[in-house]
Amino acid sequence: MPRHDPLPGTPTPADPPVRPPFDQDEIRRRQRARSIVTALILFALVALFYAISIAKML
């Protein structure tokens, strides 16, 4: 998606504040790390529930 920054000197109050580039990178890095950890936890839980189901049948 192309991003339309407001023209210099004409800030619009409704727009979110523009972050410095470092901030954006840091947000992406954290979101990516959290997504990976969440995916790993979900995968582990699926495996655990599968194992519990089998264990309860024995």
């Binding site: 901030d23 954290r30 655990l48 194992a51 519990i52 089998i54 264990a55 309860k56 024995l58």
Partner: protein, 308 residues
């Protein structure tokens, strides 16, 4: 609660910056969790009967997640206190690395998950005791007692005493005398353990306005009371042997370990040191109390497996 949140001198979280996953892990107090998991595991291993390893793992996981949830909710509520103490001011909430609603949602979600899985995979009684332990830690200890009475950790200590009971109940589905004695052991162990710590970090608790025994009643009274709790603790620790609930492996180990514990508590009880930097006896008691609990529960498992 509204007042607490309004007066909390907490760093403003970096706007819109999501918390690191490590901060969520830190919310669960992993170091405290190791002791909880260990006592829960020992309760599970000492219980008579057989439990499928997958279900045993699930039970321990639920105990760990329940403890982590309680710790997260504790930090959510106590962020203002944590910000005032050196020992805790770098935790995710007081350091401004996380927003409070995130900690609350994480804690409630984790607690609900742990209890539901425990109930479905193990049994309802174990899940019920897990609920009681989480609510006891969060509502009775954190919300009600901690800021109001110097007996906070005495009554609140019950929360840390539940895991062995949960581990046992996960296997058997009912409560017996031995896990109740293990519960009592941890319950009576908590005051000398915490009061030893509070003696040498008294200024931290004092600055935060937490009415710990050492802050309210002074070091002398705290030392004497720690000794008064250590005596019945030693009796409860050794009692399962003469009562025929365990064999001599546990009995001898518990007797020796308790003797050392009593020796260290007596040294603290009669100490006159007032400078925290010189409180070696208190630091030794605090460190040994952790070893004591690990070793006593470890001896119980060895004994039960040996004579099974």
């Amino acid at each position: 609660m509204k007042d607490v949140m309004a007066t909390a001198p907490i760093e403003a979280p970096l706007q819109g910056l999501p918390a690191e996953w490590r901060d969520f892990l830190a919310l669960t107090k992993p170091r405290v969790m190791t002791l909880v998991v260990f006592t829960g595991l020992c309760g599970l291993l000492a219980a008579p009967g057989h439990l499928n390893p997958v279900l045993a793992f699930t039970a321990i996981l639920c105990i760990a997640l329940g403890a982590g949830a309680a710790a997260a909710l504790n930090q959510w509520y106590e962020a203002d206190l944590d910000a005032k103490m050196k020992r805790t001011q770098n935790r995710p909430l007081p350091a401004g690395r996380m927003e409070r609603p995130a900690a609350l949602q994480f804690g409630v979600g984790l607690a609900a998950f742990a209890v539901i899985v425990m109930g479905l995979a193990l049994n309802v009684l174990a899940a019920a005791i897990l609920v009681v332990s989480i609510l006891f830690y969060v509502l009775v200890y954190t919300v009600w007692l901690k800021r109001r009475t110097p007996q906070n950790i005495v009554i609140g200590g019950a929360a840390g005493a539940f895991p062995a009971l949960i581990g046992w109940t996960a296997v058997t589905g009912h409560v017996d005398l031995l896990p109740v004695m293990l519960f009592l052991l941890v319950f009576l162990w908590t005051p000398p353990h915490f009061w030893a710590l509070s003696l040498f970090i008294n200024s931290d608790y004092s600055a935060a306005g937490v009415p710990m025994m050492s802050v309210v009643a002074g070091a002398r009274a705290t030392r004497v009371q720690a000794l008064l709790y250590a005596l019945p603790m030693a009796v409860v620790a050794i009692a399962p042997w003469p009562l025929g609930l365990t064999g001599p492996i546990y009995g001898v180990a518990a007797a020796l370990l308790s003797l050392v514990f009593l020796g260290l508590t007596t040294r603290v009880g009669f100490s006159r040191v007032t400078d925290p930097a010189l409180m070696k006896a208190e630091r030794h008691l605090f460190a040994y109390s952790i070893i004591y609990l690990f070793a006593t529960f470890g001896a119980l498992v060895v004994d039960r497996l040996w004579y099974a």
